[in-house]
């Protein structure tokens, strides 16, 4: 094929021009990119709030912003990062783009609903932005009652409505994935030949469909009590404030798995590709995703150990919480076992995979600390918990997201990113992340409460370390933004399969044609069949 012919080839990127062709597209790949732009925007908004929080905590005396402003900063950081970045991050961008490609389908089952889901996220996001601009909200991203229903004088209703609308975006994405996996697999693509990325997204979709409606109902109940004084959560009106926490965490604990399961799916792809080996224990890794999705719904009460929940319920939830460690550990051990005797290459996506495995393990193990009733009493609402969930949601989910973005960038754009800069950014992010959040474990264990901006002087050294780390982390996050844009024009042409990977997505052109495949593929082999390629590690750099 000559270069001239290659340039004329129709791809999903040049099949239509103009804003309208994007805003009305039903192509899952373009919708994936619309999501990518949207969540990147929200990521940097959330990052600005994080920057202000860390700057404020440089000093123990709270002399940059007022207490009221500080309350709004951590609330809006949480709301934006959780609901408008992390929840849609991997599923709605990489999942949207690659799930159909990886099972040999031409699109998702419901392309119009897919576009609708993006519009719902944007509409929800606009509500949230309105709330931020109009004066902000100060309840914490958890909206605990009775503060959110009876006392807060900030924009609770607008923010809750935004999350309510965005929740339907998540439900529709999950619904689309479930139906697509059931009905759209190409010939020969049996359930146990599916890439583990697809298994992870299937499990994620189950959580999205089963859990998110409960969040929607809960937020409506908050609005009913706040606006019409209908007694649901307020004891003065006959309600129970702990009921809110039950309902909220019934969704919001599994929501953590909406963030981490797709990242685990990405890591399975990366570890296999860059070890030139099939994933060790494919079936166990596949079913561990489903097990995490199911068990994730049985543990929410570990967020309520000091809330007034009964001791019996506390013991039940503590006991059940430990079970989540089993499928999580299966994944970590199986990824590690996959590396054994593999032809490992240290391309950028693999660096992120290594980062994920290490950071997720720390986040997961500290999760066992906080699942223990006795220890949790000591560390509840301290920076220990803040560090723990950032190791999962940033060290885990965002490392997985960035690893996946680098891995599939050549397929999405047809261009390679600059490997040297990308490796440097992965290293900077890993170091910056640990410098930011490891001191927070120590701060929390020593007694530094979360959501306070004035603190004893002896905590300042650790806070300064954490803020220094956040600065490094910010540089690390800005670097991919710059070199990814650079690569669109100057990056080397990627070709169909720069990583010599086995997935179906690598068998079509880069960028893919509008309908993904010129001919629907027929699958005759297991996933990750690298037999015959031993010793052929991926050439990078």
């Amino acid at each position: 094929m000559t270069t001239a012919v290659a340039e004329e080839r129709e791809t999903y990127l040049n099949a239509g021009h103009g804003v309208k062709s994007w805003l009305l597209t039903k192509d899952h790949k373009r919708i994936g990119l619309l999501y990518l732009f949207t969540i990147t925007f929200f990521f940097f908004i959330g990052g600005v709030f994080a920057t202000l929080i860390r700057l404020e905590l440089l000093s123990p005396h709270g002399n940059l912003v007022s207490s009221e402003t500080y309350n709004k900063l951590f609330t809006m950081h949480g709301v934006v990062m959780v609901f408008f970045f992390l929840i849609p991050s991997i599923p709605a961008t990489l999942g949207n783009f690659f799930l159909p490609l990886m099972i040999g389908a031409r699109d998702l089952a419901f392309p119009r609903i897919n576009l609708l889901s993006w519009y719902l996220l944007v509409i929800g996001g606009l509500f949230a932005i309105f709330a931020m601009v109009a004066g902000g909200v100060d309840t914490g991203w958890t909206f605990y009652t009775p503060y959110s229903t009876s006392y807060s004088n900030t924009w609770v209703i607008a923010t809750a409505l935004g999350i309510f609308v965005a929740g339907f975006s998540s439900i529709l994405t999950g619904l689309n994935f479930i139906v697509t996996v059931h009905r759209m697999r190409c010939p020969g693509m049996t359930w146990f030949r599916m890439p583990l990325f697809v298994w992870a997204h299937y499990a994620t979709a189950l959580i999205q469909v089963l859990g998110t409606p409960v969040l929607a109902v809960t937020l409506v109940l908050v609005l009913c009590e706040r606006m019409f004084h209908i007694g649901i959560f307020d004891p003065a009106l006959g309600g129970d404030p702990v009921l809110f926490q039950h309902l909220f965490w019934f969704y919001s604990h599994p929501a953590v798995y909406i963030m981490i399961l797709p990242a685990m799916g990405v890591i399975s792809e990366l570890v296999s590709t860059f070890s030139r080996k099939a994933i060790f224990g494919y079936g166990f890794v596949a079913f561990s995703s489903v097990a995490i999705a199911v068990l994730g719904f049985l543990v929410w009460g570990h967020h309520l150990f000091v809330s007034g929940q009964s001791l019996f319920a506390g013991m039940v939830f503590s006991f059940l919480s430990y079970f989540v460690a089993i499928p999580s550990a299966i994944k970590v051990f199986n990824w590690t076992a996959t590396l054994y005797k593999g032809s490992i290459s240290y391309a950028t996506p693999m660096l992120y995979a290594f980062g994920f495995i290490g950071l997720f393990t720390i986040g997961g193990l500290t999760g066992l600390f906080v699942a223990c009733l006795g220890i949790d009493v000591h560390v509840t609402d301290t920076y220990f918990v803040v560090a723990h969930f950032h190791y999962i949601m940033v060290g885990g989910a965002i490392m997985g997201y960035l690893g996946g973005l680098h891995y599939w960038w050549p397929k999405i754009t047809g261009r390679m990113y600059p490997e040297g800069w990308a490796k440097l950014s992965a290293l900077v992010i890993f170091l910056g992340f640990n410098l930011t959040f490891f001191p927070q474990f120590m701060l929390g264990y020593l007694g530094m409460p979360r959501r306070y901006h004035v603190y004893p002087d002896e905590f300042q050294v650790l806070h300064v370390l954490s803020t220094a780390g956040a600065s490094v982390l910010a540089v690390g996050y800005l670097m991919p933004l710059i070199y990814f844009m650079w690569s669109l024009k100057y990056g080397a042409i990627a070709g169909r399969n720069p990583w010599k990977a086995t997935g179906l997505e690598w068998q079509t052109d880069s960028p893919p044609p509008v309908h993904n495949f010129d001919e629907i593929p027929i699958v005759t082999r297991e996933a990750y069949d690298y037999s015959g390629t031993v010793g052929q590690e991926v050439q990078v750099g």
Binding site: H182, L210, H246, L247, F250, L304, G308, Q309
Partner: protein
């Protein structure tokens, strides 16, 4: 891929179900005016469950759907049961110890 023949209920069936739903709604309202003590909630929830079943089985076509669709419905009900039972594990046991 499975092939399914779509079963269509008659208009008469839908009309009967609709009238049954109206009667049950009236019954719920009527019972609200009678003091049944702790059984008020039991009766109200029983009627609500009956209405839910009518809507799901007839209006949502679950009665003639595939096993997979029925599994989805049962999955939803199971998850509702998880929500209620584990929440009650707290509310029902607060008077035990250390509440």
């Amino acid at each position: 891929m499975t092939t399914e023949t779509e079963h269509v209920d008659s208009v008469k069936t839908y009309a009967v179900v609709w009238i049954a739903l109206l009667i049950l709604t009236a019954l719920t309202t009527g019972v609200a005016y009678i003091d049944l003590g702790p059984f008020s909630v039991v009766v109200a929830l029983t009627i609500a469950v009956c209405k839910m079943l009518l809507v799901a089985l007839f209006f949502m076509h679950v009665r003639h759907s595939t096993k997979l669709t029925k599994l989805v419905v049962l999955g939803g009900l199971l998850w509702l049961a998880i929500l209620l039972s584990l929440t009650m594990a707290d509310f029902a046991t607060r008077s035990w110890i250390g509440a």
